[in-house]
Amino acid sequence: LSFLAVFVLAGAARIEAWPLTGWRLFSQQRAAQQVGWEAAGVDAEGVERPIPFGRLSHAYRGFVHVLTGFESLSPGRRQEVCEAWASAVAGLGAPVSEIRVYRVSADVSRRQGRRAAPPSARELRYVCPIEGSPRAAS
């Protein structure tokens, strides 16, 4: 009975003490206008490409949540995160000399074929030079 009481308390009060949970699954109402974050890598030639998180292992799949809290990190922690991503991308054979983090606004209801239309706004917020890369050195 004490377990049931704790289970109900966590559920009713939305307490997250995993495996006890507040059961908030898609509970927030989504709007068509979405504000989010993107991370891109820049190679030695200056070409920018989105970080292919889908090709990385599960260890990197929380990138959306890491990016959401990116602004609240200290500069040192932000650099550590960028270097972790850069190292993973280098492991795919595509080394980068810089990680760029953008804040993007997009209206998901605006479609171009089967994909969303490009973001209505894309603002560069952070640039992390990667230690040891040629561009960072220059």
Partner: protein
């Protein structure tokens, strides 16, 4: 409260509780074989976002430790499903499941895929779940229904029904009727499809049709909020179980989210497996007795 107590502590069939033990332990064993835990063990510390007891660590546990937990967890879950040294094996399997699950939920977001399974197993930790259909009681006589076989099953039922209810309730609290009446589900499906390597035809089929998205949202909310009805109207499970199975399969197809543990937990807990077995045996007996060429319906 008295009615709730008399329902909760009514005698139960030891075979029904055994079926829950077998089903949930088998599901846990299957979950713990996944490679995701070893991948997470290699996560750089800068990306570690712990919650709950995982805050005791400053990074994911090392690969060797994780592998050992997986081996112990899978072995213990298989042994517990078979009903061998269940009092020891089942808590060991559960503890490994909680520890490894803690890793999956420490990447920045609460991951709910395994919580229903792990929480429904909690009453089994203290229950006599191996007094039937187990190696522990091989050759022993049939046990009579007893209170000690009833309450663990009913607590597991409350956990499953409560899990769905709270999931629906928080949608209503946070978003209100707009969870159904606004474009909410359309945008969820568009965002999900856009995040996948190739556009998802199932997600787009629903999201492109506003009426279908509203219908799916209303159905989801009705299933979640209404699920506890099965606690006092067991026949309602014939409607709700296929409903939630369809819902989770739809989520799997459209959003690539794997809620198989929720499906298995709900089906294992709410289906009367000894009753199913008896009906199957009865059918087989009738078939044996029937003259050749007669159809048994």
């Amino acid at each position: 409260v008295r009615r709730l107590e008399s329902w909760l502590f009514a005698p139960g069939d030891p075979r029904r509780l055994a079926a829950v033990r077998i089903g949930l332990c088998a599901m846990l064993a299957a979950r713990l074989t996944r490679g995701i835990y070893l991948e997470l063990a290699q996560q750089p510390p800068a990306l570690y976002r712990p919650i709950s007891f995982m805050k005791l660590l400053d990074r994911m546990p090392p690969r060797g430790f994780v592998l050992a937990l997986q081996i112990i967890g899978v072995a213990a879950a298989v042994v517990a499903a078979a009903g061998l040294r269940t009092r020891l094996a089942l808590p060991a399997a559960w503890a490994c499941g909680v520890a490894l699950g803690g890793m999956t939920t420490s990447i920045g977001k609460v991951v709910h895929n395994d919580v229903m399974l792990l929480l429904a197993m909690v009453p089994l930790l203290a229950a006599s779940s191996a007094d039937a259909w187990s190696l522990d009681v091989r050759g022993a006589g049939k046990r009579e229904p007893s209170v000690c076989y009833g309450w663990p099953l009913r607590v597991a039922m409350i956990v499953v029904a409560g899990g769905y209810f709270f999931t629906g309730l928080h949608k209503l609290i946070n978003a209100g009727p707009a969870w159904v009446t606004s474009g909410n589900l359309r945008w969820i499906l568009y965002i999900s499809s856009d995040g996948q390597a190739t556009p998802n035809p199932w997600a787009l089929f629903i999201a492109d049709r506003a009426w279908l998205a509203h219908l799916a949202a209303a159905g989801t909310l009705a299933l979640e909020i209404g699920f506890p009805i099965v606690l006092w109207r067991p026949r309602a499970a014939r409607l709700f179980l296929p409903g939630i199975v369809a819902m989770h399969l739809g989520i799997r197809l459209a959003m690539r989210l794997d809620y198989a543990p929720w499906i298995v937990t709900a089906v294992v807990v709410f289906v009367d497996w000894p009753g199913v077995l008896e009906r199957v045996r009865e059918m087989a007996r009738l078939r044996m007795r029937a003259p050749a060429g007669t159809r048994i319906r």
